[in-house]
């Protein structure tokens, strides 16, 4: 093996980080890399380094002035319906203090505290309610005698998605697994059909996100193709678990 070949070897881990940072992945390999990014800080750091290494390339991109209507749309989307509230002077003082603090600390290690403070005072009325950042997880055990963990579900409110990580063999038996949330004694609410053979991020409809709170139960039933025809579980429940804040 010549030196040249040795120098050309790319470790497998680095290869995926390169692929992801470049944006060249698609489909299942993209989803696998995205999941890994969330779980593996070392991989995330590798991706970040590659993104930083590549980013000077944007210098060569010629700027193109966007049409003025774009700014108007941004403003409308973010601030529509917002009027100057009577409490604005109080808010303004709080904001001013936060900005100064942020600036003071931005180059220090404790910028996090300032950012947290800024968050507290910053968003009096963004049109979309900011979800709490805490993650919720449920280990969903099989409902058979074995009680083995069938799938782990982690809900990220910031993204409105549940990350599902199957940890056992596909138990769907050719049927369609459907995910449900049960709050207290309410009827189960469908969160949509899922898969039991691959890790996946499952987006939760906006209207149902408030149901995913600590103490709520996630369950999976097996349904006919396309999911439950009735809006309630019709097939066997194969796994269930309680969401807890992590």
């Amino acid at each position: 093996m010549s030196n040249d070949t040795l120098a050309d070897m790319v470790p497998d881990d680095d290869a995926v980080a390169i692929d992801f940072a470049l944006g060249a992945l698609d489909g299942p390999s993209l989803r696998a890399a995205e999941l890994r990014l969330r779980r593996d800080p070392e991989f995330a750091a590798d991706v970040a380094r590659w993104q930083a290494d590549l980013s000077p390339l944007i210098d060569a991109v010629a700027p193109v002035a966007p049409p003025p209507a774009i700014w108007a749309s941004v403003e409308r989307e973010l601030f529509r319906g917002l009027v100057a509230a009577p409490v604005s002077s109080t808010i303004a003082r709080g904001v001013g203090a936060a900005v100064n603090l942020w600036r003071g600390l931005a180059f220090g290690a404790s910028a996090v505290a300032a950012v947290a403070l800024a968050l507290l005072v910053a968003r009096p009325a963004t049109p979309v309610a900011e979800a709490p950042p805490a993650l919720l997880a449920a280990s969903m055990a099989s409902t058979d005698a074995a009680k083995s963990v069938l799938i782990t579900a982690t809900y990220d409110p910031a993204r409105g998605a549940v990350i599902l990580t199957p940890s056992a063999k596909d138990a769907s038996h050719g049927l369609t697994p459907e995910l449900w949330v049960i709050v207290g004694k309410d009827k189960p609410l469908s969160l949509g059909v899922i898969e039991l053979h691959d890790p996946q991020a499952h987006r939760i409809p906006q209207a149902l996100r408030s149901k995913l709170t600590g103490g709520a139960t996630l369950a999976i039933s097996l349904e006919p193709a396309g999911g439950s025809p009735t809006g309630q579980p019709t097939g066997p429940v194969v796994a269930a678990g309680t969401l807890t804040v992590i």
């Binding site: 060249a24 989803r31 993104q51 290494d53 980013s55 000077p56 193109v64 941004v74 989307e77 900005v99």
Partner: protein, 180 residues
């Protein structure tokens, strides 16, 4: 891009809910980001949609931005690229893009200087790419600027996908060696 400090200050203002700061940031950076997005999407109306999404994302995520860890330009450009690539991938395929790539922005390493001199770095990266086989360097540039998948690039170049991947990965590993 000059004025990285200004951009950091605008982001601080945005994090505190200052709308005027968003306007200043938009004025200072939108043409660059629109250029990046247009290279990937080509279709102008789609690129306009994505540009709008990017600034909405920046407004919402500004409190997470940490100037000690990331160059503001890299941070915003990464959001723009990811959003545009996300849109590109969603074309033609079923709308099953379950993950929002823009929320997967990874902050550059702590070593990345907030006041990064992008022009100087651009020269260094260009010089490093120029040491590679010209065809390999051209493919790397296409992948970066156009946001194409390996599959699409391999089809366009008429070479096996495995060959193309190894050109890109080896090329970038060598580029990094040159940068070190």
């Amino acid at each position: 891009m000059s004025g990285a400090l200004n951009v950091v200050a605008h982001l601080a203002g945005i994090a505190a809910g200052d709308r005027a700061a968003l306007r200043h940031l938009y004025d200072a950076t939108s043409a660059k980001l629109f250029g990046i997005i247009l290279r990937i999407l080509a279709e102008r109306s789609e690129a306009e949609d994505v540009l709008q999404e990017v600034y909405i994302t920046v407004w919402r995520k500004a409190p997470e931005f940490d100037a000690t860890r990331a160059s503001p330009i890299t941070w915003m450009a990464t959001i723009a690229r990811n959003r545009a690539i996300d849109r590109l991938r969603a074309r033609g395929s079923r709308p099953t893009t379950t993950l929002d790539l823009a929320t997967e922005v990874v902050e550059p390493s702590p070593a990345a200087d907030a006041l990064i001199d992008t022009a100087n770095d651009a020269r260094r990266v260009t010089a490093a790419l120029d040491t590679l086989d010209p065809r390999h360097a051209a493919i790397i540039r296409s992948a970066y600027y156009e946001g194409l998948t390996y599959e699409a690039l391999a089809a366009r170049e008429g070479i096996p996908i495995g060959t193309l991947k190894s050109w890109v990965r080896r090329g970038l590993t060598r580029m990094r060696g040159e940068l070190a």
